[in-house]
């Protein structure tokens, strides 16, 4: 019978040492699953129509959160509407306030956790997509839209692109390039509304909250436009956080935001932030968007990734 080499035989005499070495080796090879406790929280914001006003509003909120959490909360504007996946990685963000479509992509692709949704001054935390025309345009249905021009907001907008695209497909429009004389992206919801008001586009799509706010500020807009279709309601803006962030910090963050309408300081900041408060968000809110993207684009992240 052949004997094992000397070195191995010697090694076998110390089973405990052997086991320890093996354990250390395996542990070193495994990925680190420890939760991240960052020194500061870097939160991204998707640019809106008035970026200066938006930054100012969010700055009040960031300062309040820094005080309450005892951790510096910093903001950064994501350079382009819809580049959420790319920006999350390159900017090393810990979280972001995201619009419905990008939030859906973030939840799916980056496993972000939706934490809270702000409630706007009209008491709404959700928005829906509108498809609208000028009342004097003679466009009353799908058939009348053929050959006209249409304005979308951005390829990464649920209300301003995904919904109208899905609606058009459901009504038999196979190719927007041939169905319309022209289509273009306005870059903001308000611009899409103004483009239709001016006659720069025959048909427009935008989110209900912006549309309703514009109508509230100038009722003549409501008299001139007609809404032809509406999407289901989805959270307008969602604070999504990386799941790698310590659960305790995520919970504290949500807690501060959900209860800030109950403290005088919190109320003051909410006023500056132009919101009534925050409500809890859940992943189920976004399943409809994922379904819509699958139907309209065949994939969730074809556009705006």
């Amino acid at each position: 019978m052949r004997q094992a080499p000397l070195l191995i035989r010697r090694f076998m005499r110390y089973p405990f040492t052997c086991l320890l070495i093996c354990l250390v080796t395996v542990a070193a090879a495994l990925p680190v699953f420890a939760f991240e406790q960052p020194d500061e929280l870097l939160i991204g914001i998707e640019p809106e129509h008035n970026i200066f006003d938006q930054m100012q509003r969010y700055r009040y909120l960031a300062d309040y959160l820094s005080d309450q959490l005892d951790i510096k909360v910093k903001l950064t504007i994501m350079s382009r509407y819809g580049e959420v996946i790319k920006r999350f990685k390159t900017l090393r963000l810990h979280g972001a306030f995201l619009t419905p479509y990008t939030a859906t992509m973030g939840i799916k692709e980056l496993e972000l956790e939706p934490i809270v949704n702000p409630v706007n001054l009209l008491g709404e935390s959700k928005s829906q997509g509108y498809i609208f025309v000028r009342k004097d345009s003679n466009i009353r249905g799908m058939k009348d839209m053929m050959g006209g021009s249409i304005v979308f907001v951005d390829p990464a907008s649920m209300e301003g692109y995904l919904f109208p695209l899905s609606f058009l497909q459901q009504h038999g429009v196979k190719d927007i390039n041939t169905y319309f004389s022209r289509y273009f992206f306005s870059g903001s919801h308000a611009s899409a509304v103004f483009a239709v008001l001016d006659g720069r586009a025959d048909i427009g799509s935008a989110k209900s909250t912006t549309y309703n706010q514009l109508v509230q500020n100038d009722p003549s807009i409501g008299h001139e436009l007609e809404i032809l279709a509406q999407s289901p309601k989805v959270p307008e803006v969602t604070l999504c956080i990386k799941t790698e962030i310590a659960q305790e910090l995520r919970e504290r963050l949500a807690d501060v935001l959900l209860h800030m309408d109950q403290t005088p300081d919190g109320k003051k900041v909410l006023q500056q932030f132009k919101a009534l408060g925050f409500v809890k968000s859940s992943k189920q809110d976004f399943t409809i968007i994922e379904k819509m993207a699958q139907e309209a684009l065949g994939s969730l992240t074809v556009h705006g990734k």
Binding site: H49, D136, S137, S188, S191, F194, D198, G199, R200, D218
Partner: protein, 312 residues
């Protein structure tokens, strides 16, 4: 007469008949055009019309365009219409509402194609010999943009009571301003002497309707208003960049091309009544930043991004 000359005489008569009738057989078509004054907007429509019509008839019949440029007043429009009827043109093309009304008033059976007509659907053009295309600009947008630039308590509206479309635009804008509690200052231009009215206006901003008379003296109007720092909005493009702060207008080439298409169809035998009228609603929005600087106005970025063109 010697009978041997008879065949020769017959041949001679036949040749003479052919020579006399030949020019008529190959004369092609005559199109009479009434383009009010020297308005660049109508000029641009006419260029597009002429170019498209030439394309349509290329290598085919000869097309002669008889162009009338009457001064913007009732007598001149009527005279222009009567001249074209007397010329016995095959088709009349008019730019703008007043010239169109003048031709219809003559009750001629010559087919008429109008273009550059503001909201033709709003006016009863009762004649089976008439068709055409026009445009509509949402005047409320100009009011909205003015208000985003500065406080507008009083809005001056320049129009001409001699021009039916200009009056309609005045009425629409006055109604819109009234709905927003804006006082309207009515500035009726019937002659050059009326420009003096502008020297004493109290308006925060001025809207110029599509009046041919007003556009004949556009540079004078803008110069007077600029002295008082009053911004001007227009529904015709400021091609010469005389200082209109914002212009929301329908691009002219499409109207010219459709008018040419209609003219071609009518000259090819289609009845005007069989051709549906069309109203163009697409617009372009131009902001003049040079003028804004002169007037001490700042265009917010959110406003600037709405423009299809910015003059700077």
């Amino acid at each position: 007469m010697n009978t041997s000359y008879r065949p020769l005489l017959k041949i001679l008569l036949a040749v003479l008949f052919v020579l006399v009738t030949a020019p008529n057989l190959h004369a092609g078509k005559r199109v009479g055009v009434i383009m009010t004054g020297d308005i660049p907007y109508y000029g641009a429509i006419h260029e597009a019309f002429r170019s498209e019509l030439e394309k349509r008839f290329a290598g085919d019949e000869k097309i002669e365009i008889v162009l009338q440029r009457p001064f913007p007043d009732s007598i001149s429009w009527s005279n222009a219409a009567r001249k074209l009827i007397a010329f016995d043109v095959d088709l009349i093309v008019t730019y703008g509402a007043p010239a169109t009304h003048a031709v219809i008033h003559e009750k001629s059976r010559i087919p008429l194609v109008y273009t550059g007509f503001y909201e033709p659907g709003e006016v009863a053009l009762d004649s089976k010999y008439v068709t055409g295309c026009g445009f509509k600009v949402p005047l409320s947008s100009l009011l909205r943009y003015f208000k985003r630039l500065k406080t507008v308590n009083t809005l001056g509206i320049i129009f001409s009571s001699l021009e039916e479309d200009s009056v309609r635009q005045y009425e629409t804008m006055a109604r819109l301003a009234g709905q927003q509690d804006i006082i309207v200052e009515k500035i009726n231009i019937r002659s050059q002497a009326d420009l003096d009215k502008l020297r004493s206006i109290k308006s925060d901003a001025v809207f110029i309707t599509g009046s041919s008379l007003a556009h004949l003296w556009l540079d004078d109007i803008v110069a007077i208003l600029e002295k008082d720092q009053v911004p001007v909005a227009d529904i015709f493009p400021d091609n010469d960049e005389v200082g209109v702060l914002m212009a929301l207008y329908q691009p002219s080439h499409a109207q010219g091309e459709i008018a040419a298409e209609m003219a071609w169809q009518i000259l090819s035998g289609t009845k005007p009544a069989d051709l549906a009228t069309h109203t163009f609603r697409d617009t372009e929005l131009v902001f003049n930043l040079i003028e804004a600087k002169r007037l001490g106005l700042n265009f917010p970025i959110q406003l600037l991004i709405e423009a299809t063109r910015v003059i700077e």
